[in-house]
Symmetry: C3
C-alpha cells in the first residue's frame, strides 16, 4: 500500500517528516512516496495539475495525500475520495478538480469521524492531525465510507480547457511551468493535425512541432508534445520561462494544421 | 523499524544517500524517513528544536539519527541513547538537550565499540562511518549497552525556557522560524489564561489570540497557538519574518491574560 | 532489492515522484533511495563522480538508476549494465565511465526490448518511459541479458586522472565541489607520502595536511583527506569555493612529500 504526498510545505521544516511519522504509527507498512513539496504556497491550481499528471502512474489502491490548504482552520471541509481505482485525501478547495474530471466518476466523503483524526486537532496543522491519519487509515483498508457522509458538491476550480474557435484555430493556455522553464499547455496531441501548425504565445510565433527537446533549434522557442501528450513550448538547452517571460495562464493559439473535429 | 534522519547536509550532495546505503547494508528492512536535511549548517539549537517537535510522532523503538556536527574530527564524543521509548544517535554537542528534558529519563552511551562503526573511519564524515552504522544496528535490535560505556554528563545547551516575572507577565522567546516566516515561541498554551492577552515582540504589540492562521487579520502580526501547543506569531497569507524582522532568540513578553500559577 | 536515483530533475516538479510510481507498479517491494536530484542540469561529469562515490555503499544487487540525459529524444542509446555486483541503468553518454573504470569489468547491454519499456514512449521523458521500468525489472530479477544486445563501446568521458610529473610532483584536479564549498580532488591518499606536502591551487599554496576539518586553521585554505580518501581543500567553518573561487576542473599540484612510486 502506497501513500503519495503532495504539499506546499517545502523540505526546510520538519512538517513533512512529522506527517510521515503519524502515518507510519497508523500504517506501519505503508510506502511513503513524495511527489513534490514545492507547490507554490497556496497554489491549488498548480497542485491540481501535478496530482492529475501523477495520479495514474501509481498502482491501484494507492492513496494520494495532498495538503495545499490556505483555508486551514476555517470551515472548509476535509475530504477523502476515490476515483479510477485510487484514493485521494485533502481539503475541499478544488485540489481534486482534474482528478474528478479525468479519472471519475468519483466517490467523495467528508471527514467527520473523530476516530479518523489525531486525538487533538490543532488549528494550524491539519496535514498532521487530520489528513495524514485518514490517508494511513485508507491505506490500511478502512472503508472510504467510514470517514463521514457523502459529498456531492466538492469545490471545483474553473478549468478553461482548450477549445476550437469558429475560425478553426485552437485556443488553450499554459497550465504549468516546470523548473527547467518549459511551458506545458492544455492543448492535447489529438487537437493538432500536422507539424505545419503555427503557434502564437506571448507575442512569439512558433512554426511546426519537433519530436523531442533534442530536435529543437537552439536559442529560439520550439514546440513539442510533452510527457503528458500535450503541446509544450521550450528552448533547447535553455529556459523558455526566462527568455520569453512565459507564465502559467498565458494564452496559446494554434492556427492551421489543427484538427477540425 | 524506523530510522529518521535530521542533518545539515542538504540534498545537493550524495551524503544523505550514502548514509542510507550504509544503513540498508546493515539493516536491510529499515524504513528511512527524512525529517529535514536543511538545518542551518552547525545550528545545534535549531536541530534540537526540530528533533523535539518530531520525536514522539514516530512509533516506539524508532531511531532518530541526527548529524549536525561542527566538531567532526575533534575529541567530541559520539552518543547513542534512549528516552521515552525511542532511540537517538549523534554527536555529543547538545543536540539531545530537549529530548532529554522532555522525554527523559534518558540512558546515554558513548559509541566506542569499533564493531559498531565502518571498518575505516574518515576524519570528515562520521555520519557515514559512525552514526549511520550505529543507528542501523540499534534498529536491528543490537542492545544500546553494547555500543560503549554509560555517559552521565552529555553536553547540554542552555535552554532559557519561558518564565513568569514578578509583575505577573510571562517572558519567553522565539525558538524557531519556519519557512513560511511564522515565529514559534517557547510560551506554552498552559501559561496563557485568556484571549485578552497582550503580546510584545520586536517593538510590536499583538492583542489577543486567534484560533488559526485563517482567523488572523491580513497585513498585521497575529498570534495563535501553533501545532506544538505554543504561542506562535504570524502574518495571515504573509511572512512575519520578512515583514517584522523576527528571528530566533527575539524576546517575547505576554501581559495580562496570563496564568498566575 | 534497492533502486537508487540520481538525476538532474530537481524536486520542484513531479518527475521524480512519477518515476517512483512507475517503478513501484512493476516492482512493488523495491526500496527507492534518492542519491541526489540536484546534479547540475546536463552535467554528466558531475553525475559520474557522484555515482562512483555512492556505488559501493549500497548492498550487492542494488540497481543504480541515473538520468542525466541531454540527448533525450536523440539517437543516443539507452543502457543497462552490471559491475562489481551492482546494476546501473541510464543513457549512453559517459555517465558510467567511473563505475566501469573502478568497479569493472562491466557487462553492458543496450535497452531495445520494448517489453522493458512503458507501452508508450514519449520524446521528452525517457526517465519515466524507459529507464525507470528497466531499473524496476532488474530489481525484480529480470536477467540483464534480456534487455537487449551487448554493448562493447559505451560512450566514455575523458578522465584525466592524477599523475606523477617528471620532476616528482603530482598533478591532479578538482573533480567535485560540495555544497559547503569544499573541493574534492582526484589525488588519492596513496600518492602523498607525508604531511610536509606543499599544494598549489588557484594561486594559493597550502602546506601540510590536517586530519579533519576541525583541525584546520580558520580563514585560510587547508587540506585534508576527505571521505573518498582523496585530497580535499577546505576552509574551516567557511566556504572555500566562495573565498578562493575554486571550481571543478581547477588544476592542483603537490610538491615534495609525495610518493615516488
Amino acid at each position: 500500500m502506497i501513500i503519495t504526498l503532495t504539499t506546499d510545505f517545502g523540505l526546510y521544516d520538519h512538517f513533512v517528516g512529522v506527517m510521515k511519522g503519524v502515518m507510519l504509527s497508523i500504517a506501519p507498512s505503508a510506502r511513503l512516496i513524495d511527489i513534490t513539496h514545492d507547490i507554490t504556497p497556496y497554489n491549488v491550481r498548480m497542485a491540481s495539475f501535478v496530482l492529475n499528471s501523477s495520479y495514474n502512474y501509481f498502482p491501484e489502491k494507492s492513496v494520494h495525500l495532498c495538503v495545499v490548504d490556505p483555508g486551514v482552520g476555517s470551515e472548509r471541509r476535509a475530504l477523502a475520495g476515490s476515483a479510477g481505482g485510487r484514493f485521494f485525501v485533502g481539503p475541499d478547495n478544488g485540489l481534486f478538480t482534474s482528478i474528478i474530471d479525468n479519472y471519475g466518476p468519483a466517490k467523495i466523503h467528508e471527514i467527520t469521524d473523530s476516530k479518523m483524526k489525531l486525538a487533538r486537532v490543532s488549528g494550524t496543522f491539519h496535514g498532521r492531525d487530520i489528513f495524514a491519519p485518514v490517508a494511513a487509515h485508507l491505506a490500511s483498508g478502512t472503508p472510504l465510507e467510514s470517514v463521514g457522509p457523502v459529498v456531492n458538491d466538492p469545490v471545483r476550480l474553473e478549468m478553461a480547457g482548450a477549445r476550437r474557435l469558429d475560425n478553426g484555430s485552437v485556443a488553450g493556455e499554459i497550465v504549468y511551468m516546470d523548473r527547467f522553464g518549459n511551458a506545458v499547455t492544455n492543448i492535447g496531441v489529438h487537437m493538432i493535425k500536422d507539424s505545419g501548425v503555427s503557434i502564437r504565445v506571448a507575442g512569439e510565433t512558433v512554426k511546426g512541432i519537433v519530436p523531442s527537446y533534442f530536435a529543437g533549434v537552439d536559442s529560439k522557442l520550439n514546440a513539442t508534445f510533452g510527457s503528458d501528450d500535450t503541446l509544450e513550448l521550450f528552448v533547447r538547452n535553455g529556459d523558455a520561462a526566462r527568455k520569453y517571460g512565459l507564465i502559467a495562464g498565458d494564452k496559446v493559439f494554434c492556427e492551421s494544421g489543427v484538427c477540425r473535429t
